[in-house]
Amino acid sequence: MAKVRTNIMVCTGTGCLANESEKVIRNLEVILKARGYAEEVQVIKTGCFGFCEQGPIVKIEPDNVFYVRVSPKDAKDIIDEHIIKGRRVERLLYVEPKQKEKINRQEDMPFYKKQLRVALRNCGLINPEDINEYIARGGYEALGRVTTEMTRDQVIEEVKKSGLRGRGGGGFPTGLKWEITKKQESDVKFIICNADEGDPGAFMDRSILEGDPHSVLEAMAIGGYAIGADKGIIYIRAEYPLAISRLNTALKQARELGLLGKNIFGTNFSFDIDLKYGAGAFVCGEETALINSCEGKRGEPNYKPPYPAEEGYWGHPTCVNNVETFANITPIIMRGAEWFASMGTEKSKGTKVFALAGKINNVGLVEVPMGITLREIIFDIGGGIPNGKKFKAVQTGGPSGGVITEEGLDTPIDYESLLERGSMMGSGGMIVMDEDDNMVNIAKFYLEFTMDEACGRCVPGRIGTRRIFEILQKITDGKATMADLDALKQLAYMVKDSSLCGLCQTAPNPVISTMKYFWDEYLAFIKDVDHPRGEGKYTAENKAEIKS
């Protein structure tokens, strides 16, 4: 180990694996061996670097050279040129599209410059399948400090002071949720990690679990200590086989070292974690549905209250938090609440991870401080729109969110400002659309999704979403009249106001927001002689009138 002079880090996130990074690794290892360098040069499989568009990514340390789009046959040049002769392989360097210059250091790339990595701090830096690498970077120190030096109230106080809010979409203050759960009188409590990431096109949680699973396990143990739970559950989608396997490895290693299990750090605190698998239902991301699914039932949501903090898993007080929320916990304990609260805006502290996708140059995962503008994310970090096309809109919040247009690009983002714009933070999916995208089609796409995924428990959700979809279908078929547009608006607000759970309450958002910003595109499908200008009666402002 001591002899190793160079590390070749290769991304093994799902995106890069799909792009043959496994073969790149195999070739690198074979050639290293053949050249007799296997002892001093080590190939490390890391988690996601975030720059998925340019994958597979290979980074050489300590030279700090960052290669992109490396194919298996490039392995030879990396070793013969870079490792042996010390010459950079120019053709594999990242070329900045605007200036056309080659960049070899990660921190010089526009994609990384404005990022601030807290939740993703270890992704791409360590081998997720080796607990020692996590420990070498300060892992499990926070758990040690918490269990031996801090009282439960101190932990909760620290998290409260940090201002951390839930990253799963709701934005509920995490410290407060912990406090509420702690206050419940019960011998049996649970802490659950929500890894059901259902928003199609979002992959933040998966990347954290694949790239840094221990950060979540450690934080769950800390949370368990604070609320008084000795049992944790990670509810993860069955569609994430790689994350599942890395979690299993991580759990095994943590148990072997006694970091999970009985009497952690010699204290009388015991804690262990179970995995439960989802089975492909978006609504199971909603916490009450998730708990039903954990119990092996149909994943239908319940009325709240009672909240899970009062009555959750098998009726016991249960605290449900998102993966990224957990990933922020250890830095808060180690570096202090003040440090965390120094980032972000007044009401939204810290950073947020976004999955940038769609019509954007740099598809990938970015972590930015709250309060940054969408323009900075899309144009500076994301590199703008490909093929010289014009930006049209960005959808945040997935199927529950709405579109934000050019005029909204300069709002500093936090939970409140996005809500004001008719969208929401959501879990962090960010889909960019260019001038070629038809917004009615986009709305239809989302409604088809929610219609499929609605659990069917409440009538507005089950039938309302279907009717909305049908009207949208009629519109895009060119068969709709102004009356249909009016009906669409009315129905959208009705479903929003009367559905049982968050899924269908927010399902009409894509329709409402595209109608607000892209009314013309709806009109373009309408051939109605009576209302050529399309004075739709229903707007957000007069929705009270609709109800009556």
Binding site: Q54, G201, A279, C294, G358, V363
Partner: protein
């Protein structure tokens, strides 16, 4: 509930009305050998508790049998002492569970948002046309099952098509023909 649990009755389906009956296209006995049931039984018996374990058991059963035909669902129901309807209720709720046997290869087209805005809808249309099936159907020769799936996490490669575990990225409409041909010719060689 008592009645349903008795073997003969459940098998005859006497107490099941038509629409509830689970369609199994292949004759049940053929691909449901006893060893597989034994394997499933061993798995269930090895569990500390079956309380809340129905989904985990169904995952295992689908692993073993490849799908969840009615006999398997009823077997699980009897084993756990719960109504068959409860098992079917869970199976039908989750899209991951399937009650139909699939083709030799599963062709999954990602219909996540990232893939959609980069043209996944055109790709799947082309596939449907080429294979002459709809989503979740199997081709006549039993070679392909077409599926539309949500984000598989390779958004950087959008649009994405997956054949079994192999990922094809940045797929254009025209590429679809090549992919199909690749697997068809493999079949021809065997």
């Amino acid at each position: 509930m008592e009645i349903l649990l008795k073997d003969n009755v459940a098998k005859d389906g006497e107490y099941m009305t038509e629409p509830q009956a689970i369609s199994v296209t292949a004759p049940a006995a053929e691909d449901l050998p006893k060893e597989k049931f034994d394997e499933l039984e061993a798995f269930i018996d090895s569990m500390e508790t079956t309380k809340g374990a129905l989904i985990a058991i169904l995952h295992k059963a689908q692993d073993i049998f490849g799908y969840l035909p009615r006999d398997v669902q009823l077997y699980i129901a009897r084993k756990l002492g719960i109504p068959g309807a409860e098992v079917f209720g869970v199976v039908s709720f989750y899209s991951y569970f399937t009650t139909k046997p699939g083709g030799k290869h599963t062709l999954s087209v990602c219909m996540g948002t990232a893939c959609f805005v980069r043209g996944a809808d055109k790709v799947i249309e082309r596939l449907k046309e080429k294979l002459n099936v709809e989503s979740n159907e199997t081709t006549e020769d039993g070679l392909f099952t077409l599926k539309d799936v949500r984000c598989i996490g390779a958004c950087g490669l959008a649009p994405v098509v997956m054949v079994d575990d192999k990922v094809y990225g940045r797929v254009r409409e025209e590429d679809v023909d090549d992919i199909i041909r690749e697997y068809r010719s493999q079949e021809g060689q065997q």
